[in-house]
Amino acid sequence: MKLAPRARVIAGAAAVALLLAAPFGLKPYGIYLLSLWAVMTIAAIGLNLTLGYAGQISLAQASFVGIGAYTAALLTTQGWPLWAAFALATALSFAIGWLLGYPALRVQHHYLAFVTLSFATLVFLILRNEEWLTKGVYGISNIPRPTVLGWSTQAPIDFYFFCLGVLALVSAATGWLIRSPWGRAFTALRENPIRASSLGVDTRRYTLMAFAIGSALGGVAGVLYAPLVQFIEPTAFALGLSFSLLLMVIVGGSGYFLGPFLGAAVSVLLPEWLRFSEGLYLIVYALFVMILVAMCPSGLIGLAERLRRPAAIATPKPVPRDDGNGSS
């Protein structure tokens, strides 16, 4: 969504002020939800890069959150600092994500979705069955929260600010990436890979890179998730979380920088805000999501853009996905 530069600065400053002030006056559970929002936003930013910008469907993002969470849990419960977990989980997720990208060089759309779904199942089975490493269904408990340069993040509000700081760094790095030539190449990959290739874009390397970076951000989210909940077990990283992350990207606005922020808010915070409706809250939530996605496939950001300048928004013309040739 493009606003005038001044309006963007004001809106950005207001959002930061809101996020900084939000935890004050909230009970620990409210602060936990805000922290969870920040963590899930990071994972959704990663998926938005892979799916929203580069157009590669993935149902394996939860697996990378799991890889990050287990890396953090295993290392920090053995006395390693959290930054070591960040480094290892990011590198591990990047490498595995790169490998997972190879099938995307051959298949797309629902075929690719099933490839990544199979990978997600594989990771879940490893987390559940390899007890010598992961403690299986018993999970790993007493995961410590880090002390950063003498600042203990043990209290919920401190850990929230820690999560917010990491989210700020991830957002800045992702913002740089999508405005860079790489971001432009990712978009070209999504919109028309054949034309992109004819213009010198190495679609193979960019596809792999989109998977690798998106997966690495899933790993970063996982490293934060483990000390947030302080107890992890395999079902937290099953397919349900992958679908939730997909929902966050689509509801927020796939391919929009701010999409994951709003999508994660809808997925993490909205169900809690709807609890006033007691037993009906999940029904209300489900209806909201169904109507939103059906009426506005470009998500909340797309809806806002449509409302802001209805006349200027042209329906994107479908681009042929064939070889671009006609009859001759």
């Binding site: 978009t187 034309r195 010198g200 874009v201 013309k317 001759s328």
Partner: protein, 247 residues
């Protein structure tokens, strides 16, 4: 004169159907070669085999004497060989300027240096010149998907020239373009050919356009070259007339 592009005995079959059969020709530096033929004669298939989008069943393609058969389109582009497609191929969600920057950015530095470098890859000036040259200044900030068909066609052609290619294969550049814009497009192509010494191979059904633009014409029918020569000579060739009108 040494050939910039050499095509030797190129063939492409789809199952039992032969789309291109034993085609050989040379493209010389600085010329504008027209490739014409009835629908289904194999022109675009030939382009796709030359440019790595399809693997030829037989034959060889060389650029500057170097074999390029089967090379990936992105590698060919970095060798200075560009193309446009028969159907519009712009990136609708990117602005006109970003489409142009994208079309040039992969020729600059390595993938990593592009990430660390400026967001526009230092190409805003070049893109602006291209925008002026193709008279797209009024829509430079618009998303390409919001442009008229003719403007998108101009953008499509402009993108092929962003990286300063030596050889461009244009697949029906005049298709769907209104007459006024067509004159403009022809002048732009002539000017690039004259000033940048760029070589073109042009597939086109618009005979007036192709005859007035090209210096030499190849005629393809049923996957084979049936005539070759200057526009005037080809226009009166009996085989060509028969291929278009039937016996």
């Amino acid at each position: 004169m040494a050939a910039l592009l050499e095509v030797r005995n190129l063939a492409k079959s789809f199952g039992g159907i032969s789309a291109v059969a034993d085609v050989s020709f040379d493209v010389y530096a600085g010329e504008i070669l027209g490739l014409i033929g009835p629908n289904g004669s194999g022109k675009s298939t030939l382009f796709n085999c030359i440019l790595g989008q399809l693997a030829p069943s037989a034959g060889e393609v060389r650029a500057d004497g170097r074999p390029i058969t089967g090379m990936r389109p992105c590698d060919l582009n970095r060798l200075g060989i560009g193309r446009t497609f028969q159907l519009l191929q712009v990136f609708p969600q990117l602005s006109v300027r970003e489409n142009l920057i994208l079309a040039g950015q992969e020729h600059l530095g390595s993938m990593w240096s592009r990430l660390a470098g400026p967001h526009d890859a230092g190409l805003t000036g070049t893109a602006n010149r291209m925008i002026e040259f193709f008279r797209l200044a009024a829509v430079a900030e618009e998303r390409a998907g919001a442009l008229s068909y003719g403007q998108q066609k101009l953008l499509d052609v402009a993108m092929a020239f962003m990286a300063g290619p030596r050889l461009v294969l244009l697949d029906e550049p005049a298709g769907g373009v209104n007459p006024a814009m067509l004159v403009d497009l022809r002048e732009r192509l002539r000017e690039i050919n004259a000033t940048e010494k760029a070589t073109f191979v042009v597939i086109e059904h618009n005979m007036e356009f192709v005859m007035s633009l090209c210096t030499r014409i190849l005629v393809l029918a049923e996957g084979r070259i049936i005539a070759e020569g200057a526009p005037e000579a080809v226009r009166g060739n009996r085989d060509v007339i028969e291929a278009y009108l039937g016996r």
